[in-house]
């Protein structure tokens, strides 16, 4: 089977930055081009802006994660949840924070061990997104 690769009918002009440094072969220049900009928390916490949402945790804070009521959770909606992920699950019309287990069966573990683990029907399980990180402010809001 021959695969035909056709050129784009109206190619856009591509510009590329011109490197003014010569790069001696075999040894990377220590002054090689890099951008210095102030560190930004966005780059640290957010991988995909367009599918990232902020959600606030609310309720009883007894959990081993250190996730407290009022903490800011950074949620990626497009991320496919894997076993062990902290997720925002939709239960009884509400967003809840749970740990998702996929083996031996689909389970939603509560943040607080005093509450029961749920075993939802995998077909009907609605997950809003995966909590990628959360921020806890050590000084209470003033």
């Amino acid at each position: 089977m021959l695969t035909f690769i056709t050129p784009a009918p109206a190619p856009e002009t591509q510009t590329s930055p011109l490197f003014t440094e010569c790069c001696p072969a075999g040894f990377p220049s220590p002054a090689a081009d890099y951008t210095e900009a102030e560190l930004d928390l966005n780059d640290y916490c957010i991988r995909r802006r367009s599918s990232t949402y902020f959600v606030r945790a609310l309720g009883d804070s007894m959990n081993d994660l250190g996730l407290h009521s009022g903490d800011l959770m950074i949620v990626d909606k497009a991320e496919r949840a894997i076993h062990g992920d902290i997720v925002i699950a939709e239960i009884d019309g509400e967003f809840t924070v749970k740990r998702l287990l996929l083996t031996p069966r689909v389970a939603l573990q509560p943040m607080n061990p005093a509450y029961p683990t749920l075993y939802p029907d995998p077909e009907h399980l609605q997950v809003f997104g995966v909590v990628m990180s959360f921020i806890h402010k050590t000084r209470s809001a003033g």
Partner: protein, 424 residues
């Protein structure tokens, strides 16, 4: 080859993204000032709630199921629209935003590596995974055909939201056009459809088969272009496109990337000017201005940055200066140094029609509180549900503060409004 991506029941769907309790419930969105229905989801349509139904009528209507009503939340809609757009841009390099919930994609050549409809389904999946919103996709060799295909994909559920009309299957295209009422064709509408009906043209196919010169003589060059587009000739650019219903969008991809703030200011200024012109051409005033900027999602070694900011005005305007001022404020909030911007644009929202022009009233008529005639006119305007007028001397009347009693939180643009999730 064009594809049109259209979000299903956009405003109503936005209201349910962060409300898991509203999945599967009828939702309705009201115009600004809670005047009338401007959006309904499928379930609300089943309750026979019509577009444009006044709020007071709906409030008192007998309905079989509770309907959830929201005031329009343009901050939320602009934010989610930007996210939908960002997702689509990740999969197709040439995307033009037509309205707040419709985007045209240039998908020429994609069929060399993937079937058009498979691509359409992937696009749907991608947008849904990142935003929770469902898009319908129509494809065709002209924008008008893409729009007809998109209409069909909504009309007949067996297409499952994706329908692409390819040029090698002309019969399928003609079959579809024969089933589409001519009023549903892009750029036609009820007024033109009535006149076409008197000439025996009631379906899109009949319009396609009409003589283009005849159409030009009896209607306009614009309709002639529509006829040619229905026959597979792409001749309508987005600049000459029929105006979108309730928004105006002006945006451009930059030939050369923009890195300097001043250049971006100039570009956004230009878009603001053009948008204001279009606004006046539509005889509308707007109250909500959004500005978006983005780098290319395909640039190598460049972190992607895209953002949108909105300004809400107290009084509706169509003055270029007001719109530019608002656009500059919004731009300042999202401009970041060090990025090579590939695209920027402006979106005007929340329109009110002409006739509610407080400023004109004050120019032409000296308000005398005793003047019965004037009072009568004022009262008529104030009670029409379309807006309120007051005397400048009185200061801003508290009643003027727009009624937005059922406004949902700005889930993605205000820290105080972000959604919450229970820990237990």
């Amino acid at each position: 080859m064009f594809a049109l991506a259209d979000v299903n029941s956009f405003y109503a769907s936005c209201e349910s993204v962060f409300r898991p309790d509203l999945r599967g419930k009828p939702i309705v969105v009201l115009s600004s000032n809670d005047g009338c229905v401007i959006a309904r989801n499928g379930l609300a349509k089943l309750q026979n709630i019509k577009m444009g139904m006044p709020w007071f009528q709906l409030k008192n209507a007998r309905l079989s199921e509770k309907v959830h009503v929201f005031s329009s939340n343009f901050e939320l809609y602009a934010s989610l629209s930007n996210r939908v757009m960002a997702h689509i841009e990740e999969m197709a390099p040439r995307v033009e935003q037509y309205s707040i919930d419709e985007m045209f994609l240039d998908i020429s050549g994609i069929d060399s590596c993937i079937d058009y409809e498979v691509f359409g389904n992937q696009l749907r999946e991608h947008v849904k995974s990142g935003t929770g919103l469902t898009i319908g996709i129509g494809g065709g060799i002209s924008k008008t055909l893409a729009k007809s295909a998109q209409w069909a994909s909504k009309e007949w559920p067996q297409f499952r939201g994706v329908l692409v009309l390819t040029p090698n299957n002309r019969r399928r295209t003609e079959k579809l056009l024969s089933l589409q009422p001519v009023a549903e064709v892009w750029g036609v509408g009820n007024r033109i459809a009535k006149k076409l009906a008197t000439m025996g043209i009631t379906t899109a196919l009949q319009l396609a088969q009409a003589n283009p010169s005849f159409i030009r003589r009896n209607f306009s060059v614009v309709l002639e272009r529509t006829v040619r587009e229905l026959n597979g000739e792409s001749c309508i650019s987005l600049e000459e496109a029929p105006p979108a219903k309730q928004q105006i969008i002006c945006s451009r991809s930059f030939g050369e990337r923009i890195t300097i703030y001043e250049s971006m200011r100039q570009a956004v200024c230009q878009y603001a000017e053009r948008a204001a012109e279009k606004l006046r051409g539509e005889r509308q005033y707007c109250r909500h201005i959004s500005v978006f900027v983005k780098t290319s999602p395909f640039a190598v070694n460049e972190p992607y940055y895209g953002n949108v900011a909105s300004e809400r005005l107290l009084t509706p305007t169509r003055d270029t200066r007001d719109i530019i001022a608002a656009a500059m404020k919004a731009l300042d909030r999202i401009w970041r140094e060090g990025h090579r911007y590939a695209k920027a644009g402006i979106m005007l929202n929340d329109f009110t029609p002409t006739g509610i022009s407080q400023l004109n009233l004050f120019d032409e008529v000296q308000p005398h509180a005793d003047s019965d005639q004037l009072m009568k006119v004022l009262d008529q305007i104030n009670h029409s549900g379309l807006g309120k007028v007051w005397f400048a001397g009185r200061g801003i009347a508290p009643e003027w503060q727009m009624k937005r009693e059922m406004l949902s939180p700005a889930y993605t643009t205000r820290w105080s409004d972000i959604p919450t999730a229970r820990l237990t």
